[in-house]
Symmetry: C2
Subunit: 343 residues, 2 copies
């Protein structure tokens, strides 16, 4: 019992392979009667069409590649889900790869995706290796950058302006009257998201004359455990800031837990603000003030745009969509103690 192929099905239905192929891909071209016979033969034989053979014919492979820094982090799980749902509804299957924030690995993974002849490719952010950009240009396949927006991006992009995200967060702290502010960010090498947010925040602080002390600026990985312990160490010192601007909500949650552990009350003694508004940020106690990045919306739009580009088979499409950010004020930020006394 070998696997049934299209000629087996054809024989079983008493028609030619060509007709079976048509019945599957262009049902309107074959008469209702033969279609029924063929459906029956397919059912009976357990035939499953071979996409590889189809793709070889220059047709679509019906796959879309998605490359992310990591999957196991709340940060990207939500976009991935939304993106997958959207393209999946249109009959595509997702080829997933994750590179652990390493752009050389990313290059190798993207190459593999091209080997599989993905119909389109989505990547996170606009930071990529030179080789990656060259390969993408050669392949003539629609490629979309997700998560980041830049008006002058080399690739089509759908996402937010991370600089603005940093600004919004910083402005909120400044407006509340904070002057003693700490910053907790992940490494900014190979990570344009974090870099943009940090730059935006620093610009605002400088314009407002807020001095950033070096020992209140720490670098931690995207990881609650390490964020919590590093921040606990920072907050344990004698001289501590009245507010913490965190590179994202994962780190901000770490900050909230660290404060809870040390008995520092939020927002009375410490304000914490994050970026992202991930699942859980609205539920932590105290609930987290953050700059909302609408992950689901980004994933859905990205899916639509990319499916559209594929169906127009337009590798040179250009789209730059800026998704709006919102400052979500919750319970983790407030005026610093001295300002409260003064006001």
């Amino acid at each position: 019992m070998v696997k049934p192929d299209i000629v087996f099905v054809a024989r079983l239905a008493g028609v030619s392979p060509a007709t079976v192929s048509r019945a599957i891909n262009h049902p309107e071209l074959v008469s209702a009667a033969t279609r029924r016979k063929i459906d029956l033969a397919i059912e009976k034989s357990g035939y499953i069409r071979n996409r590889a053979a189809q793709a070889m014919h220059g047709k679509r492979s019906a796959t879309i590649g998605l490359v992310m820094p990591t999957i196991s982090n709340m940060i990207f799980a939500e976009v991935t889900q939304a993106f997958n749902d959207t393209v999946s509804d249109q009959g595509f299957t997702l080829l997933l790869a994750s590179h652990g924030y390493d752009l050389d690995t990313e290059y190798r993974l993207i190459r593999k995706l091209f080997e599989h002849r993905v119909d389109a490719l989505a990547v996170i952010g606009l930071d990529h290796s030179h080789g990656t950009f060259r390969m993408i240009a050669e392949q003539r396949v629609p490629v979309l950058a997700i998560w980041n927006y830049a008006p002058d991006s080399a690739l089509p992009c759908i996402g937010v302006d991370n600089r603005e995200a940093g600004q919004l967060a910083a402005q909120h702290l400044v407006a509340l009257g904070h002057r003693r502010i700490g910053m907790v960010f992940p490494s900014t090498v190979d990570n344009d998201r974090a870099r943009g947010r940090q730059a935006g925040a620093i610009a605002v602080f400088q314009a407002a004359g807020v001095e950033l002390k070096d020992h209140w600026r720490i670098e931690v990985p995207y990881n609650i455990a390490q964020a919590k312990s590093a921040i606990a160490e920072l907050l344990g010192r004698d001289d501590r800031p009245t507010a913490l601007l965190c590179g994202n909500d994962v780190i901000a949650q770490g900050a909230i837990y660290a404060a809870a552990r040390l008995g520092i009350s939020i927002p009375q003694a410490l304000s914490v603000i994050g970026v992202g508004d991930f699942a859980g940020s609205a539920q932590v106690e105290p609930t987290l003030t953050t700059v909302r990045i609408p992950a689901r919306q980004i994933g859905v739009s990205a899916g639509q745009v990319i499916v559209d580009a594929v169906s127009r088979s337009d590798p040179d499409f250009m789209v730059r969509t800026r998704i709006d950010l919102d400052l979500i004020m919750r319970a983790s930020t407030g005026m610093p103690a001295d300002a409260r006394r003064a006001g």
Copy 2:
């Protein structure tokens, strides 16, 4: 400028296509000199081999399918990451699909994966539709069930005994002296994980003579927001339990936040236990007592087993690996108030 294929590269290198193919797949069969020429031609032309054509030849497609209920939930993100890392190291690429806890959707997705001729397939849990089982049997492709262990499973499996997980959690509460216990679980239809845990817990409670009140048992989706609000409602009533056994850590985190919101102190006035030990469970305040499911370990073992089955091309392999559970005692559970007085 069309895309270079293997004959283009061959011409460029001054050899036959067969030699190029060999240089790529069995480098040891071609002389160092020609290999160099070919590498150069590949580099120069930007050639990327076509896996579809390769797969069509009856060779491996170098893809592995993974079907999950959902990706956007901490629960599965970690296994997915570990599994992906493992198979990716061996040269495979992941085809991902998520069905939103619907087994008919799952059937359709698995069919699509088979269309793409995945070399192997991993699914979550042992609950699947009849059609799915039939299709899997017909396809002669290694299939592995992840996350769940059962000694009599129809499919090879690697995972934990969910019944035991429920028992461990229940025993811990009983041992602490709790008698007034609430249970918060997701829907158990089409979800053997939740079903097993619930059954295990109930068995222990009955054996211990603990009476489970209906109005202390609620059903919520896997979702912090809804878990928190439903639990807050439960805890807001006059008559409330001294302990909450939660179907997993996501729900347990919701319980912790709900208690915090209501000013109910954990563990003095309420004990909370979860199942899973997801990222964050060790950092919440109070830190969460839970039954640890080693997600990373499961993902890695699963990846190894499945790659092994593929390389032996053994569709009928059978493996049943039971991964050990551990009760992780943290700060969210303690003796009930009356027991403390008595003791």
